[in-house]
């Protein structure tokens, strides 16, 4: 069982992702939420054990590309999967070069979530 951090500026999307994780039958323990990259870094800095991060890209204050760069700059190797409407090849390439493990395009189904995340949990 892993604790998961969801970083997305939409509270609706955070709820949908949380529900989809449970529906997909993934081994999820606690789910923590953050509204942007800065809040996400604060959750990590608070010392909570995180087994997987799901992050949006297009967010105010600190976007997902900068967030993952900061996560890796701190030496954290936790898997980070981008869940985003930004499905373009170059932007995903940039996310991967910043240290993302994989990406999922919104909108998604619980089955698509299970397929991508099952191997990371």
């Amino acid at each position: 069982m892993a604790n998961i951090l969801i970083v997305d500026d939409s509270s609706t999307m955070r709820k949908i992702i949380s529900r989809s994780l449970r529906q997909a039958g993934l081994s999820v323990d606690e789910i923590y939420e953050a509204g942007d990259g800065i809040e996400g870094l604060n959750v990590i800095a608070s010392g909570k054990t995180i087994g997987l991060i799901l992050s949006d890209i297009n967010m105010p204050n600190m976007d997902g590309l900068e967030f993952i760069k900061q996560v890796r700059a701190n030496g954290n190797t936790v898997p980070v999967v981008m869940i985003t409407t930004e499905g373009g090849e170059e932007i995903i390439k940039e996310a991967m070069s910043n240290g993302a493990s994989d990406s999922i395009k919104k909108p998604f189904t619980p089955d698509q979530l299970q397929e991508k995340l099952g191997k990371l949990l």
């Binding site: 939409s10 609706t12 999307m13 985003t84 499905g87 373009g88 995903i92 395009k105 909108p107």
Partner: protein, 165 residues
Amino acid sequence: MSLDASTTTFTVEQLATYVIEATREVFSTMVMMDPIDDYPLKEPVKRFKCSITGMVGFAGIYSGVISIHCPLDLALKMTSNMLGMECEEVNEDLNDAIGEIANMLGGNIKQVLSKGGLDVKLSIPTVIVGEDYTVNSLSDSDCVVIPFHIDDNRFIVGLTLTKED
């Protein structure tokens, strides 16, 4: 006929098809509803009553706005479906849900406009809600306006687009 925005690439008919496909995908996957599209409107609808509007802007090689305009009672049903819990009043959940629908529609259209994802930027969503308001575009861009219906409820998705030099 082609959009001023898209003389080199997209016809109005193509853009209308992209809007319809994006709307159907977002609604069937995230809203658990299956809207049916009606004939495109020739002019944008500017005045709304007891409605909510979600908008996301494009900037880069294309600029423009994609917007969804819903009567409040339908928007409340959509939000309830997305959240898996009853939403019965105008609140942050409603604003956020409609903003996120606009965001997903924008992301879907961006994939058509952008080759790799970096040459077109999406704005953070804007949401307007009110008993009587107007939405005007100050640009002279052409647009596609697609009405949809779900049972007896109607909503509109509009796309305004300009190709930048």
